[in-house]
């Protein structure tokens, strides 16, 4: 059998990879890609805890589904923002979108 720790470590690794993407990529769309990876890592954890706890308690799956909904909403709004910014500033490089500096 696969122990729970494998899933957790796997999810933590995926989360860290996604975080690296979020922190390091210049392209705003790529940053959103990283966020998706992080959300998936969370979902793996939720599903794993559901499976390794009492399978009759559906909390893990329910929360995973709500994370799906949140992810969909986040992507829709995020990409709309990226496109809107691109239309006005002709760039999607996160470093160049720095109008809010001092």
């Amino acid at each position: 059998m696969v122990p729970l720790s494998w899933y957790l470590v796997f999810a933590a690794a995926l989360f860290s990879i996604g975080m690296f993407g979020v922190l390091s990529r210049r392209n705003a769309v790529a940053i959103l890609l990283g966020i998706e990876l992080m959300l998936n890592a969370v979902n793996i954890n939720l599903a794993a805890f559901w499976r390794y706890g009492d399978v009759r308690l559906m909390t893990g799956q329910v929360f995973a589904i709500i994370v799906f909904a949140v992810a969909a909403a986040e992507v829709a709004v995020g990409l709309a923002l990226v496109i809107s910014v691109y239309r006005n500033r002709h760039t999607v490089v996160a470093d160049e979108i720095d109008m809010l500096k001092w």
Binding site: V22, S24, I31, A94, D95, D98, M99, L100, K101, W102
Partner: protein, 718 residues
């Protein structure tokens, strides 16, 4: 629906109509009057249902319809308000409902609904007529619609609410609330045409004069509440309470009950325009002619009398049957005096409405006098019959004026006063319905024997006065009755009989159905209502119809008043003065062709005994002087302004000291600028980390998070 619930609901439709019209339907005339008349009709139906149910209850006096709710917490107990319909209330509700509905209906026609808007009518002035061109190209001037039509119905609705509240309330406080609402409406309606200075003055005069009475009434209510701890009628009118009140002496040789009754009575003096507070009522005729006048004749001023009738047990609490008490003497005196006094003035007035106004004062005096001598049922009876025929007369006079205005518009001569009786004459052919109904009303007022309601009620008062031995009152009232018949016949003769004295009178026209219908309805009651109260021992007629009114209204009192013995002297007197007055009036004024031929134009009477002038000199002028010299020049300018002017330099000195020595150096320099400079310095140093790049922010946040997390873990958890 239980009768009690229905009673609660009766006053509400007009109030609702008021708010609906004011808030929403002000723009639409048709909608406004539909709502107004509809509300009045709803209340009318409710009242009639209550009345009919009240008739069906035996011993209604002992177990009336009543219902009360807690209203104000007063320490451990509650002040309760509620509704009460006993026989008196039912009888009053009957005539109030009818007359109010009639007012509403009549107003539709009186304000020329359906006519075009005036050529140069403005809000606040009566309509001046509109020019229309017919299909032949001829121009006509026709009556124009009232510019503030909707507002009028709103006011009437509020008035009706006040009146119904007063009638159905079971305690003095809500009665007083209704009373004051009507006072406000009276003010608003007298000043309805606020563009006219005379109307403005009359409104203020009416409001101020009645306010005097109301203050005393409020005092009486307060005294009563402190003495008994309740304002509910049926709790006051218990044997013990009344006895306790009657046996406690107060000031001026009066008992507590008598003193309270006197205070409450002063309220009535103001509301019912009794001498010496009668001066506002004739001026109130400045309002829209028949309608507000009718409020000031049939319903609202009757409310004053109603209040006294209501408080009758209190008034007579210390009355043993032998010799009037001080309070009752005052009441009787004022009533009788007013009856005679107003009647004499009425003889010399030429304005058709003013004659009726003084006649109203006189008739109200009749009722007050009757109450003063303890004739409870007679007063109530006369109250109701008077309401019917006086409403009829006022509406009739409004109809006459309306017809005359038609003539004025026709000739275009606006200098002719359509209210002056010497400009009329011969109108019976032009306005037959108005004439016949006015004749019925006039005869009822004069007390034309046997057929009119006024005869029976007036006769009962006279019989009571004579029967109980109050001869002075009896004689005074008899003379007043003679004068009443005389000036009534004078009015009828001058207005309707003979030949038209002016061009305008020739072109007068009958008024529309909305105005004549109320006349006919009221004329019916002006004749028939008398028959419900024919004394049982009356020759021939007595016993034909049972004396229902006496039985029914009399049962309101705990002690059932006995019908007095029949005596031919008051009857003959009554017939004599009525007939004599009528015949003399006709004989004399038949031949009078103009004002100069009228021998009764005595300056003293013409000028109402100079009461206005006297009040002006005694109260108004001193008040102006006091306001100008004492309050304004001395108190306001000298004392208060002086203090204020002293404040200025003082404050300025203090202020500049504070500014120079505290504000500028300490607060401004050190605290204000100092904190800003410190913030600025820090900002300059710290802004380097505000790069505007989200990823750097996130990195910073994560670094902080990891550092703090690690520190917490190692130092706290481990």
């Amino acid at each position: 629906m239980t009768t009690e619930t229905l009673i609660w609901l009766i006053p509400l439709p007009p109030l609702l109509a008021f708010f609906l019209i004011v808030l929403f339907t002000n723009k639409s005339k048709a909608l406004s009057h539909t709502i107004g008349v509809g509300a009045a009709a709803l209340s009318f139906i409710g009242s009639m249902v209550v009345f009919v149910r009240a008739l069906g209850v035996e011993h209604l006096g002992e177990s009336p319809f009543e219902s009360a709710v807690n209203w104000l917490p007063t320490g451990d107990t509650w002040f309760r308000i509620g509704v009460l319909i006993d026989p008196l209330g039912a009888a009053v509700l009957f005539f109030v409902a009818i007359t109010i509905l009639m007012i509403f209906l009549y107003s539709v026609g009186y304000h020329n609904y359906g006519q075009p808007a005036g050529d140069h009518d403005v809000k606040g002035l009566p309509p001046h007529g509109a020019t229309i061109t017919d299909e032949h190209g001829h121009k006509h001037v026709v009556p124009s619609v009232e510019p503030m039509y909707s507002r009028f119905f709103a006011f009437l609705g509020l008035f009706a609410f006040g009146m119904y509240t007063l009638v159905v309330s079971d305690n003095l406080l809500t009665l007083f609330v209704g009373w004051e609402i009507m006072g406000l409406c009276s003010y608003l309606l007298i000043g309805f045409w606020y563009g006219k200075p005379s109307a403005r003055d009359a409104a203020v005069k009416a409001f101020m004069t009645t306010r005097i009475g109301d203050v005393f009434m409020l005092l009486g209510i307060a005294f009563l509440y402190s003495a008994t701890g309740t304002l509910t009628f049926r709790e006051i009118f218990t044997e013990e309470t009344l006895h306790a009140l009657a046996s406690t002496p107060a000031w001026f040789g009066m008992t507590t009950s008598g003193f309270i009754a006197l205070l409450l009575f002063i309220g009535t003096v103001g509301k019912s325009a009794q001498w010496p507070l009668h001066v506002w009522l004739p001026d109130a005729m400045e309002g829209p002619t028949p309608v507000s006048a009718m409020i000031h004749a049939a319903t609202m001023v009757s409310a004053g009398v109603y209040a006294v009738i209501r408080m009758f047990p209190l008034l007579t609490a210390d009355y043993t049957g032998h010799g009037l008490t001080v309070t009752m003497s005052i009441v009787a005196f004022i009533g009788a005096f007013t009856a005679l006094f107003a009647a004499t003035i009425a003889v010399a007035q030429n304005d058709i409405k003013r004659v009726l106004a003084y006649s109203t004062i006189s008739q109200l005096g009749y009722m007050i006098a009757a109450l003063g001598i303890g004739a409870y049922v007679a007063a109530a009876f006369h109250l109701i019959t008077h309401a019917f025929f006086k409403a009829l007369l006022f509406l009739g006079s409004g109809s006459v004026i309306h017809g005359m205005e038609h003539g004025v518009l026709h000739t275009g001569n606006h200098h002719v006063d359509p209210q002056d009786m010497y400009n009329m004459g011969g109108l019976r052919k032009k306005m037959p319905i108005t004439f016949w109904t006015f004749l019925i009303g006039g005869f009822a007022l004069a007390g034309f024997p046997l057929v009119t309601a006024g005869f029976w009620s007036k006769d009962e008062i006279l019989a009571d006065a004579f029967g109980h031995g109050h001869l002075a009152v009896f004689v005074t009232l008899a003379i007043a009755a003679f004068l009443t018949a005389f000036y009534t016949m004078r009015q009828i003769t001058l207005t309707f009989l003979g030949e038209p004295r002016t061009e305008e009178a020739k072109h007068a026209q009958e008024t529309p159905w909305t105005m004549t219908t109320p006349l006919i309805v009221l004329a019916f009651f002006a004749v028939t209502y008398g028959w419900v109260g024919i004394p049982e021992h009356f020759p021939l007629l007595g016993g034909l119809v049972p004396n229902w009114f006496h039985e029914f209204v009399g049962s309101t009192l705990a002690e059932h008043p006995e019908a007095i013995e029949f005596n031919p002297i008051p009857l003959l007197t009554s017939i004599g003065v009525a007939g004599g007055g009528l015949i003399l009036g006709w004989l004399y004024y038949r031949n009078v062709k103009s004002v100069s031929e009228d021998k009764f134009q005595i300056p003293l009477l013409k000028n109402k005994y100079y009461f206005d002038e006297a009040y002006n000199f005694l109260f108004v002028k001193p008040a102006y002087w006091f306001a100008e010299n004492i309050v304004y020049k001395f108190l306001d300018k000298g004392v208060i302004d002086g203090i204020l002017h002293a404040f200025g330099p003082f404050t300025q000195g203090t202020g500049s000291a504070l500014r120079n020595y505290i504000d500028l150096p300490v607060i401004n320099r050190a605290i204000g600028d100092g904190s800003a400079e410190i913030t600025y310095w820090f900002g300059g140093k710290l802004r380097a980390i505000q790069t505007g790049r989200v990823q750097q922010y996130l990195m910073l946040a994560l670094v902080t998070f990891i550092v703090i997390g690690a520190a917490l873990y190692f130092f706290v958890l481990a």
